[in-house]
């Protein structure tokens, strides 16, 4: 199991029914999909070897995504960019409906891990009143209030402890996209803000509806970049979304 390893980064979606699988489930789904595709994944050494896969920030069970990432160490290079495309084609039949590979590329040794490097995520967050009724026209005003506020103090749980935090610095962008939905860029570092916590901060009367992670962002020398941009022709997302739901 020693020897040269090459690291690939894969970007994938998680849409529709499959959104009800957990982060751990997704890891298992990928382990098996890679085996089905006969990708020579590298294993850790030791008493209980496991495949060298690393995922980005966990996506909550029930949330959808158009930008999930996986880094996988492979025992040998798969070849040039064309072969990476072949890899995508080979992986696809082994993945459940709703999980689709959007892009894949070899990444340089020493590239920081996704967990370390991602600084914020953009979310589309459905908002409804408790019990599922519409959020109503007060949502616009609440969004304005939060954007104007210098601090937004919430009480939330962290590692089983109730803590009081100002979460305003974690709200990078916030836009009302229609009367029951916001698009928000939320920081993941130093203290991240979850979509459900943003919804609670807008009003205790609200709860989250359908939530989609649209992007994860890296900060490279001040510039904002995706860990793996979508290829230019990746316009099939709405169709995939329809297929998955």
């Amino acid at each position: 199991m020693n020897g040269a390893r090459t690291r690939y980064r894969i970007r994938f979606s998680k849409l529709g029914k499959v959104r009800f699988t957990s982060h751990r489930d997704v890891a298992r789904i990928w382990e098996r999909a890679l085996r089905r595709a006969a990708v020579p994944v590298a294993y850790t050494e030791g008493f209980s070897p496991h495949p060298r896969l690393s995922f980005g920030l966990a996506l909550s069970t029930g949330h959808e995504s158009l930008g999930e990432y996986l880094d996988v160490d492979v025992r040998a290079p798969l070849g040039d960019a064309l072969d990476v495309d072949a890899l995508i084609a080979r992986l696809d039949p082994g993945l459940p409906i709703g999980v689709d590979v959007q892009a894949a590329a070899e990444i340089a040794p020493g590239t920081p891990s996704l967990q370390q490097a991602v600084v914020s995520c953009t979310w589309r967050i459905g908002i409804q009143a408790h019990g599922g009724s519409p959020a109503g026209d007060r949502l616009a005003a609440r969004v304005d209030d939060v954007l104007r506020a210098e601090s937004v103090v919430v009480t939330r749980e962290r590692k089983g402890q109730r803590v009081v935090d100002d979460v305003r610095p974690a709200i990078v962008h916030l836009d009302l996209s229609d009367d029951h939905e916001v698009v928000a860029e939320l920081a993941t570092q130093p203290r991240g803000l979850r979509p459900s916590e943003l919804v609670a901060a807008l009003s205790p009367e609200y709860e989250e509806g359908r939530v989609v992670r649209l992007h994860q962002w890296l900060s490279l020398d001040g510039a904002r970049e995706e860990p793996l941009p979508l290829p230019l022709d990746a316009t099939s997302t709405p169709a995939r979304e329809a297929r998955a739901s």
Partner: protein
């Protein structure tokens, strides 16, 4: 075709483990429904995690979907949180494949692998929007059928099931599909006529076609068919050759965690070791091996298709498989594939195989000596000597295992306190052996109360009371509480009591099962949901005696509630084996010794299919089970 997915989707964020309800498994079929197609909903009456791996259900799922005139989907019992939401929102039980309402299927088919799921069966029928009592169903309701090991005494569920399938299901589901299909195409009119036609299929028992009479002692006097063309005794179905049925070909790979989450390849069906407590061994005879070449092919194709890195070679005693060494050697030689052998005899030979397949991760090893003394093991016909057991233990510890789990039964026929305490003595001895190899060697003793089952030589035996089982557990606790390195675990004797009640009950238990279900007693296999008081109350309300059903010894001339069912075994063979048990006489395996005429082969014109005429290497005739756990 309708789907409740849009409504269900809104509820799933509010329940635990929602991935249980979404389907999408790798290998899931695309059922094609139609007016001339008989639709089956194959339902496992417990949670998805327990039910998804069930191989019987998966085999029938494929066989039915391969037919043009059938379509099959799957359902599992929703956990209590989702059930509450479904009922509150007026939603029914649904298939996980297309989320079609259960009531829209032609056949609602249950797998009965344990007695404690009976109340869940009623709950699933009710959640499907179908009357729980068969007599209350109209022609538009699904036909409710059941298969699986518990159907050898289906009487406690006789009021609720339209039909019961006995034995191997591979062929009979086709015959049922044809009969139900003809009825459907003719306009689904007379339900009673359909049931009558179904009762004429070999292996199909239709409870409503039989009348039960009781005698003055309040016992079953006789069971008689209502019609001349309905068999007085319903015979089980037996596949002649497993090689003709290489299923599942596309084992389901779930998206979420389930039990036995690995590739399973069945290497043989049936067992003639003759352990007298073991219902599975008795009712699945004769032994039918799968050709080793086919096993190899199923492993190779299955691993490539599923992406699993582990394969279990399943059977009731896998070391007895004629091709075992070759298959294990070939498979374990493959890259990154681990092999597990869920039931092996206890001897050095099997530990040798274990060493071959578990090169890494030697964490725990499980043996099932079942009883603590040689005398007791002769009574139950589990003929493992102490020398065999200790040699196996020595071999395992010396080859790197550090933990061992030993399974035992308490409450066996003729058991004395000496036998019970023999369990503690064996445990101590195993730890002593282990400590010679590792300072931290440990043994877990897992003790279950014995439940006599129909179609075993022990079917006449009066089960131990809860108090007696608790006393025996107490003896073991006292004997082991100072023993470092021995951990004692036991099953709740109260649950054992109810398992015993359902196992040998008759039709009068129907209202009791219904009353417990109506009082909210579902998921009785789950200790957090089990309440003995509900059962005691329901029994008392219906004027029935737990003592008479569970603890009473039956006599030779007594009519047993399942006498009109046949597992192929002659009753006089079982009675003789019961007498032999009491006389502490063991009975060697008939695969390699002359026939005892138990009836399993001769009655069906089939024979054992065994590739090797000599027993596998190893010490005794032991039938110890050995399970590999991570």
């Amino acid at each position: 075709m309708s789907s409740i997915w849009p409504q269900l989707e809104a509820l799933l964020p509010r329940v635990a483990k929602p991935a249980r309800y979404i389907g999408l498994e790798h290998g899931a079929q695309a059922p094609v429904h139609g007016p001339d197609v008989v639709s089956w909903l194959l339902t496992y009456p417990d949670t998805y995690e327990i039910g998804l791996p069930n191989q019987g259900l998966q085999i029938l799922y494929e066989i039915l979907n391969e037919r043009d005139d059938a379509a099959a989907e799957r359902a599992y019992a929703p956990w209590t949180d989702l059930e509450e939401l479904l009922r509150a929102n007026g939603l029914p039980l649904f298939s996980v494949d297309t989320h079609k309402p259960a009531g829209e299927f032609d056949v609602l088919a249950f797998n009965l692998s344990a007695e404690l799921v009976y109340t869940n069966v009623l709950n699933c029928i009710d959640l499907a929007g179908v009357p729980v009592r068969a007599a209350d169903r109209a022609p538009h309701h699904p036909i409710v059928v059941a298969g699986g090991h518990c159907t050898y005494n289906p009487e406690p569920l006789a009021d609720f099931l339209d039909a019961v399938v006995l034995g191997d299901g591979e062929e009979v589901v086709a015959e049922l599909t044809e009969v139900i299909g003809a009825w459907k195409r003719a306009g689904r009119r007379d339900r009673a006529q359909l049931l009558h036609d179904m009762a004429c299929i070999t292996g199909v028992y239709v409870p409503s076609m039989y009348e039960v009479a009781y005698d003055h002692d309040d016992r079953v006097a006789r069971v008689t068919p209502r019609f001349d063309d309905v068999p007085a005794r319903v015979e089980k179905r037996t596949l002649a050759d497993l090689a003709d049925w290489p299923y599942p070909k596309q084992q389901l790979v779930p998206l979420t965690e389930v039990v036995h989450d690995r590739l399973n390849v069945e290497v043989f069906r049936g067992c003639t070791r003759g352990c007298r407590f073991c219902q599975a061994g008795m009712i699945t005879r004769p032994v039918r091996e799968r050709p080793a070449e086919q096993v190899r092919h199923m492993i190779k194709a299955g691993i490539a298709r599923t992406g699993y890195d582990e394969v279990a070679l399943t059977s009731l005693s896998t070391a007895d498989f004629s091709g075992i060494e070759g298959v294990v050697a070939d498979t374990a030689g493959e890259d990154d594939i681990s092999v597990s052998l869920p039931s092996l005899r206890v001897d050095a030979f099997t530990v040798g195989i274990a060493a071959k397949i578990q090169r890494a991760r030697r964490t725990g090893l499980t043996f099932a000596p079942e009883a603590g003394t040689w005398r007791m093991r002769q009574v139950i016909n589990k003929l493992i000597t102490e020398d065999d057991l200790f040699a196996a233990v020595e071999s395992a510890y010396s080859q790197g295992w550090r933990r061992m789990k030993l399974y035992f039964l308490i409450g066996l026929p003729t058991e004395t306190d000496e036998d019970t305490l023999g369990i503690a003595a064996l445990a101590k001895r195993c730890v002593e052996i282990g400590k010679r190899h590792h300072k931290g060697a440990s043994v877990t003793i897992s003790v279950g109360g014995f439940v006599p089952k129909p179609f075993t030589p022990f079917q006449w035996f009066g089960q131990n009371t809860v108090a007696e089982l608790q006393r025996k557990v107490g003896l073991l606790r006292d004997a082991l509480h100072r023993e470092r390195g021995v951990q004692l675990k036991w099953h709740d004797p109260k649950a054992t009591l109810i398992e015993g009640l359902a196992s040998r009950g008759d039709r009068r238990l129907g209202p009791v099962v219904e009353a417990v279900w109506r009082a909210g007693g579902t998921f009785q296999e789950w200790s957090e949901h089990f309440e003995l008081e509900r059962w005691e109350l329901a029994m008392a309300e219906h004027g029935l005696s737990i003592d008479s059903y569970v603890h009473r010894h039956r006599t030779e001339d007594e009519v047993l509630p399942w006498d009109h069912i046949s597992a192929g075994l002659h009753k006089d063979f079982l009675w003789q084996d019961w007498r032999d048990a009491l006389a502490e006489v063991g009975l060697p395996d008939c695969r390699w010794t002359p026939c005892y005429d138990c009836g399993a082969c001769t009655g069906y014109g089939v024979e054992h299919i065994v590739a090797s005429a000599t027993p596998p290497a190893g010490g005794s005739q032991g039938t110890g089970q050995l399970v590999f756990v991570r």
